[in-house]
Assembly symmetry: C2
Homo-oligomer: 188 residues x 2
């Protein structure tokens, strides 16, 4: 997606530890016009899929998920990292975070995911793929169908993309980073 790649080249930054910082337009400060364009782009890429629900994980997936849900005119659900005291029965999955070197639980109320649902899973980043696999496990547990995976920025030098495609999932990444070596952003 041309606009997203332009934002990454213009506003993205690479830290010393080879982390791509996009916190000026995606995951701290957010550009709402870019988000709505991302929503339209995913709508077009999954136009044949009859999606009836969008699923993501708090917090940085929410802005993208609301944009694509608005484009598709379907509800979106975000998995929570802590189960609220008011939540009834829920689906759960464990996710390992390589960045934070810790496991965490994600949870979705059984009220909002059923076997009738055809679900588009979206997130801002794809690296090792663990968060997406956790969301997929929740969709599977509900007996629902994964219609596809929509990612804003995929780290092409990490295995998440290959892992998801080997499972037969339809993955669409709007920008793929091939390398962050020498603090240079190389886009595919």
């Amino acid at each position: 997606m041309k606009l997203l790649k332009e934002y990454i080249e213009k506003y993205g930054a690479v830290t010393d530890s080879s982390i791509l910082k996009v916190d000026s337009f995606i995951n701290h400060q957010i550009d709402p016009i870019l988000m709505m364009e991302i929503g339209e782009e995913f709508k077009n890429r999954f136009s044949d899929k009859k999606i009836n629900k969008v699923l993501t994980i708090e917090a940085s997936g929410i802005a993208i998920a609301i944009a694509v849900a608005y484009a598709l005119k379907v509800p979106m659900v975000f998995a929570k990292k802590k189960k609220p005291s008011t939540m009834g029965e829920a689906y759960n999955a464990t996710v390992h975070s390589f960045t934070k070197k810790t496991d965490y639980n994600i949870t979705v109320s059984k009220e909002f995911l059923t076997s009738q649902d055809n679900v588009l899973i979206v997130d801002d980043f794809l690296a090792m793929g663990n968060a997406i696999i956790g969301l997929k496990n929740i969709v599977d547990e509900a007996g629902a169908t994964v219609a596809g995976i929509g990612i804003a920025i995929e780290k092409g030098f990490q295995p998440g993309g290959e892992i998801l495609k080997k499972q037969g999932l339809h993955l669409e990444s709007l920008a793929i980073i091939d390398s962050l070596e020498n603090n240079q952003i190389t886009l595919r």
Copy 2:
């Protein structure tokens, strides 16, 4: 706001402990069409304010903030509850949660809030007002201006609204709950 009140009456639920559950359309499953309408409503209510930034707090404020930021065509920033390792200098505030009976820290990078900013603070709920006061403290620390406070659902039987108005802040709440007694939702 008529549409939001209709959603609350139709889909809202009151738990045994007098908590209003709106997790089918605001804070777990989210209706994107309602969100965009809420965005337009806040744009109209603050049309004289020359807002150039929208500020909220993760996670359940994000959907509303992105909608109002899109309506106003300005960036939005969400305060984080944990400071990421990649974040540089930041503004911080402590917020006491009465629901969770604990204090937590919120943080916004100094990159994304400056003395030039005229900020609309938004959130899904207003009860005691502590989260909003925390966000206001961060805006003050940055030398920026609070243009107003936009709330989807205010609990009118708790003091947050009065506290904010006594500070001279322009508060707009789209729905005010006067009572949840006897598990009945009474809207103002």
